[in-house]
């Protein structure tokens, strides 16, 4: 069953609502026994990187999560800060990330004054994503692959091969990353209506 990690962060009900509408079973996992039954995992996240890592580390779910994702290869999708947590570290804090996909989370920063003015932080609103490689997650989306974003930091992947799609906000940056069974998405599928529903459905059908 699709299992949403409930470590006290993120609007987890929003994901459950989408899956309910799609008639796909999903549940929340607050403890190891619930999490260990997961066949797919959604790792949500909002707020600051360190706070999110701290909450996850103290949730008692961390070891089980690492085992499921790294050893048992259960598909996982990190969303927004949940995606950023999959990196090694973040400019936003000092905590170690999960190191599931090599890379560092960086703050948008522009030397060009004009671009800086045109791209205030946070990046909030609709933006198109540009697929870089084919991915089952992107099947059935509108031609204009518009998603909803709300963030000031982005995932700077160490290995270009892990970048599935990019978005442009003053710079091109990775908004969808993937390594093996691990997926991370910067935008909010749960707020992106048709395209978001399609993407969450695709994840369920992986």
């Amino acid at each position: 069953m699709i299992t949403i990690v409930d470590y006290g962060l993120g609007n987890i009900k929003a994901f459950a609502n989408v899956y309910k509408r799609l008639n796909i079973d999903c549940c929340y996992a607050k403890d190891v026994s619930a999490l260990s039954r997961a066949s797919k995992i959604i790792l949500p996240g909002v707020g600051a990187f360190d706070h999110a890592m701290d909450k996850l580390n103290k949730s008692g779910l961390r070891d089980c999560l690492d085992e499921l994702v790294l050893d048992k290869k259960v598909p996982v999708m990190g969303i927004c800060v949940g995606m950023q947590m999959m990196a090694d570290a973040s400019d936003e804090g000092v905590a170690d990330g999960l190191s599931w996909i090599k890379g560092r989370v960086r703050r948008f920063s522009y030397e060009n004054e004009k671009i800086a003015q045109a791209c205030p932080l946070p990046h909030m609103g609709w933006n198109n994503i540009q697929p870089q490689v084919g991915s089952a997650l992107l099947h059935g989306l509108d031609e204009a692959k518009r998603f909803y974003f709300l963030h000031s930091y982005y995932f700077d992947a160490a290995d270009a091969a892990s970048v599935v799609a990019t978005a442009n906000y003053g710079i091109d940056y990775a908004c969808l990353v993937n390594r093996d069974n691990i997926y991370g998405i910067q935008c909010h599928p749960e707020k992106s209506h048709h395209n978001g529903v399609a993407l969450l459905n695709n994840f369920a059908n992986l």
Partner: protein
């Protein structure tokens, strides 16, 4: 045709077709303020004590819950200051809710972000389906009525009420206030955005999208059912103490890095275009007259200052041209098509089926029982 006349006390004039003047040339907005609003508006110790009692009740009812109330945040001055007061002065724990209709200005985004970060709060964002918003807004352009901002307004109101209802939140904090809004926009200018009969008629005739996810809420549901059956209360804290807009904006700038913007409601790119260009140039309705008149009555602006500001357009011709292009592009129509909408004959909300009579009766009842002090007309 009626001779043009400006109120001798505020700056409302005969572009408000129902305005009446007394023998001294003072308009009914001013007289309504003197007779009905001012005597019942207490921003002294009495108001503060009333608010304190309400706050205690909110806190008590919210014990053991993640949030004790909910408030919408647009990034504008009223909601930003309300958030500051609610958290810092009264120790409330609001769920801060932002509805993104797709038209946030950069300043709005900055203001929401700096306040949320500094106050250490979470932001709940509800995003309206952009394709639907676009189709709904285009329907209003095609209908030719003045209030083309209904698709955004309705979504903001409906989403907040729907959320409060769904999660059983009993208190909604609202930034609405007498200090800057005592003079109401005439109905001819900004007709009710919650009139479902009118919305239905305009959708049927002009909207090619079924609007499957767009949030609707009828006025009967949120003003009667939610308020009196589900006991969801709307509190307007800014009416219980002195709210001086200039001072509030300065405090927000100093304390949070909040950015002022040139005119009320300009935190939305669409509303800026609509109130700054479309409404005054196509219909001759300038909402600044309403805003400045409120500030004159509550002694935050002189009539002379207001008249000087009104002698210049809200947005310059060059900015208007730029905005015209921006709006057309974002709505996926050509500039020529938008110009066609602009040039087509002006319609009124009365040209389409509506529930104005029901609203008028409701407004009279609310005034009679003391819930509303002044009547929108």
């Amino acid at each position: 045709m009626r001779e043009f006349q400006v109120c001798s006390r505020c700056v409302m004039d005969t572009t408000d077709s129902k305005i009446v003047f007394d023998s001294n040339g003072v308009c009914d907005h001013c007289l309504d303020f003197d007779q009905n609003t001012k005597p019942n508006w207490h921003t002294d110790e009495r108001g503060r004590a009333q608010l304190q009692a309400i706050v205690e009740k909110i806190k008590k009812d919210g014990e053991g819950r993640d949030f004790d109330c909910i408030m919408g945040m647009s990034g504008g001055a009223d909601s930003s200051y309300l958030l500051h007061v609610a958290v810092k002065d009264f120790g409330l724990r609001p769920l801060v809710f932002h509805v993104d209709g797709g038209w946030n200005s950069q300043i709005a985004v900055n203001n929401i972000n700096v306040m949320i970060e500094k106050l250490g709060l979470d932001l709940y964002t509800e995003v309206i389906n952009w394709e639907e918003m676009k189709a709904f807004q285009l329907a209003y352009f095609r209908a030719g009525v003045p209030n083309i901002d209904v698709p955004q307004d309705h979504a903001f109101v409906a989403t907040l009420y729907n959320f409060a209802d769904k999660y059983n939140i009993k208190y909604i904090l609202n930034g609405g206030n007498i200090s800057t809004e005592v003079v109401r926009n005439p109905l001819d200018w900004l007709y009710y955005g919650t009139d479902m009969r009118q919305i239905g008629a305009i959708r049927k005739q002009f909207c090619d999208d079924p609007l499957e996810t767009y949030p609707f809420s009828s006025v009967l549901r949120h003003k009667l059912y939610l308020r009196y059956v589900k006991r969801v209360q709307v509190i307007k804290p800014l009416n219980y103490f002195p709210y001086i807009k200039e001072e509030a904006m300065q405090l927000l700038a100093d304390e949070y890095g909040w950015q002022p913007y040139p005119q009320k409601h300009f935190e939305s790119r669409f509303t800026k275009f609509y109130e700054g260009y479309w409404l005054p140039r196509k219909f001759g309705f300038d909402t600044r007259k309403v805003q400045y008149s409120s500030l004159i009555l509550t002694e935050q602006m002189t009539r002379q200052e207001a008249l000087e500001k009104l002698s210049k357009p809200a947005i310059s011709d060059e900015e208007a041209r730029h905005d015209f292009e921006y709006i057309a592009t974002k709505l996926d129509i050509s500039v020529d098509t938008l110009q066609e909408y602009f040039d087509q004959p002006n319609k009124s909300h009365r040209d389409y089926p509506n529930q104005e009579t029901m609203y008028n009766i409701g407004a009279k009842i609310l005034k009679y029982i003391g819930v509303e002090r002044s009547i929108k007309r």
